[in-house]
């Protein structure tokens, strides 16, 4: 095993985790029938808020919580506009991204140049001392920051919630056929608002991960398009939580692998890798769209449609 291998795996985990958070949040939103294109904007506001909270209070948990809360606050704007004032979801989502980028720049004005020590890591020194497999286990499973473990738990919890819990079934029903769900008495817009808030909180958490762990600093536009990749991941995963996780690590892995490959002198055009997640999304879309039954099976039928109760 070459000596760069373990640090390589570590880099993959940190590069992938923001995608897991933002992707799983957006998945829940879309499952409820809402398309929120503002992931990038919610992420960046989460990033700047978390960093500001971390620098001023010095508390990691508080910083993480602030990031999630700020993301949810952004999502609340989107939810009220699209669900209750019936504005167009696509246009509102895009506007949310532009607004978020500008707002974060304004909020972060005094934060440029400050640094934050980072989040605590879980250490298991005894396990890592096991010969041969110890370092590998230590790298793959242990010694990450707490948010990495939380992201794994989150994916499992969302999978369980959507498929096994009653509330999750209601959420999916609202996303599949809001008229039917409404007629049997489910509060369609309330369910959607809660899903949107959850999506915002997760996007904010993804942003917080960037500004607290990945590169513990604040600079404008530091999300650099990751919110859009998270959006693409949801389609790539055909709206399945486990596949969002796999997709996030696949993309994080590809990015890091490409950087390492360049250093090792292996030639892959970096531009090809930059477009890889979007290309993969198009391919998956083409494949699942060939069969209309498959599309119905996967995409929420009411995705992107506004609901207005009549009668």
């Amino acid at each position: 095993m070459p000596e760069w291998f373990i640090p390589f795996l570590l880099s993959v985990v940190t590069a992938s985790t923001p995608f897991v958070f933002a992707g799983i949040g957006e998945l829940v939103v879309e499952k409820s029938g809402v398309l929120n294109l503002g992931v990038e904007g919610m992420m960046i506001v989460g990033a700047v808020s978390a960093f500001a909270a971390g620098v001023t209070t010095g508390s990691g948990p508080l910083a993480v919580f602030t990031g999630a809360f700020a993301g949810a606050a952004m999502a609340l704007i989107f939810g009220v506009l699209t669900l209750y004032l019936l504005s167009n979801q696509v246009a509102t989502g895009l506007a949310l991204t532009l607004f978020g980028l500008g707002l974060s720049a304004l909020m972060g004005h005094g934060m440029v140049g400050k640094t934050f020590p980072g989040l605590p890591h879980l250490e298991f020194p005894l396990l890592e001392q096991i010969p041969v497999v110890g370092p590998l286990i230590g790298t793959l499973l242990l010694g990450h920051d707490v948010l990495v473990y939380f992201s794994v738990v989150l994916v499992i919890a969302v999978g369980w919630f959507l498929n096994k819990s009653r509330a999750g079934m209601v959420l999916r029903a609202v996303g599949e056929n809001h008229n039917a769900a409404h007629s049997i008495g489910y509060p369609v817009n309330l369910v959607r608002l809660l899903a949107v808030l959850f999506g915002g909180a997760m996007a904010g958490l993804g942003g917080a991960y960037l500004s607290l762990v990945h590169t513990p600093l604040w600079v404008e536009n530091m999300t650099a398009g990751r919110g859009w990749i998270a959006l693409a991941l949801v389609v790539f995963a055909s709206w399945r939580p486990a596949r969002v996780f796999v997709g996030a690590y696949l993309f994080g892995g590809l990015t890091i692998m490409q950087l390492h490959a360049q250093g090792l002198g292996i030639e892959i055009p970096p531009q090809v890798l930059a477009m890889a997640p979007y290309l993969a999304t198009i391919v998956v879309l083409v494949i699942i769209s060939r069969d209309s039954a498959l599309v119905r099976l996967n995409a929420p039928a009411c995705l992107g449609k506004s609901f207005h109760a009549t009668g």
Binding site: S11, L98, G102, S104, H214, T215, V219, E220, A224, L259
Partner: protein, 361 residues
């Protein structure tokens, strides 16, 4: 050369394009000087340094001038609108500070022949449009010498943005300088296809560190590589402005763009009526390129060597691209005793000996 900062522009727009107060005409009728920036003044890099230049003009010339700026202006139709507005509101001199403002500047200049324009990093000139840029490669030569002396692993890591001549020139300048003091040095380059993506820049830096690099250089705009270097306990060289805050132990020095002397000189020229169109490519000598303070961990003899090279570049006895220079295959491309002309440097599209890998096509 901020070609890839579209996202940054969007953010600035959303925040609301800000026009600093232009003020009322005063009794002495000061010269109004306008600045157009591609990023926010708080970007801690490119635009920040241009704004420092503007502030210096105000300080140096006092009430003879009145400056104003517009930040986060997208390169394109918006730039034309902003430049037109400055020209039509009585500005006598306008600095447009990004490569992408080239065509808008020339177009507006045609309509306002009495207004003087200064465009950074471009190549299109007119009677009332001058161009200026900085010889950053002179700074790269000096930091290359320091890196060559400081490395223990003999591997320098270089986080690069886009394979354009300006970036390639910097990589080559570092490789030539480092190998002149330590022939075993190789330079490993990782391209991140972005001017600005802190996450990716940090990942690229970590990949280079994992592969043995123990001095990190960069030609991207965020301080993330310096921070990554600090985290892994290796050396780093900052880019465009002093990045010491992000890696106090690692930060050896930084190449700083200092536009203040040029901006003051050109503004004075307009006041005196001696302004002429032209092209300035300034380096250490004109003060356009500077180095931030040296890390106290650098041995005194290395500092002395770096300072000697810097002074040599100023008095002309040292040239970063002096022969013999070999390309990657070992073929001599510049004979001993010759120095590279500006045209070859401006179009540089090959790696010199000591740089690993190929330039992405």
């Amino acid at each position: 050369m901020k070609l890839g900062k579209k996202l940054g522009l969007l953010s600035g727009l959303a925040a609301g394009v800000m026009l600093a107060a232009t003020g009322l005409a005063q009794a002495a009728d000061p010269l109004k000087v306008g600045f157009v920036y591609v990023g926010p003044v708080g970007d801690h890099g490119w635009t920040y340094e241009h704004n420092q230049g503007r502030i210096a003009v105000e300080k140096a010339l006092g009430d003879k001038v009145k400056t104003s700026f517009v930040e986060s202006v997208p390169e394109g139709a918006d730039a034309t609108r902003v430049i037109t507005r400055l020209a039509s509101t009585g500005h006598g001199l306008i600095f447009t500070t990004s490569f992408g403002y080239m065509n808008p500047t020339v177009r507006v200049a045609k309509r306002f022949p009495k207004v003087k324009f200064e465009h950074a990093t471009g190549f299109k000139r007119a009677d009332n449009v001058a161009t200026y840029s900085a010889r950053f490669y002179e700074g790269r030569h000096v930091v290359g010498l320091i890196a060559g002396k400081m490395t223990k692993s003999n591997v320098l890591g270089y986080v690069a943005s886009f394979p354009i001549p300006e970036v390639i020139r910097g990589i080559n300048a570092v490789a030539i300088a480092a190998r002149s003091v330590n022939p075993k040095v190789t330079v490993k380059v990782v391209w991140v296809s972005s001017w600005f993506d802190p996450g990716k820049e940090a990942d690229a830096a970590k990949a280079l560190i994992d592969q043995g690099a123990d001095v990190m250089l960069q030609h991207t705009d965020s301080p993330a590589p310096v921070q990554a270097a600090q985290g892994r306990g290796i050396w780093a060289i900052g880019q465009a402005s002093d990045m010491k805050a992000f890696g106090p132990k690692s930060h050896l020095t930084a190449i700083i763009d200092d536009w203040a002397p040029y901006y003051i000189e050109r503004t004075k020229a307009v006041l005196d009526g001696t302004w002429k169109s032209g092209d300035v490519w300034g380096g250490f000598k004109s003060g356009m390129v500077k180095l931030s303070s040296y890390n106290s961990a650098i041995p005194a003899d290395v500092v002395a060597m770096a300072e000697k090279a810097r002074k040599g570049i100023i008095d002309g006895s040292v040239h970063p691209f002096a022969g013999p220079i070999k390309d990657q295959s070992g073929k001599i491309i510049l004979k001993a005793g010759e120095v590279m002309d500006d045209k070859t440097m401006l179009g540089m599209n090959f790696y010199v000996e000591g740089v690993e890998g190929k330039i992405p096509q």
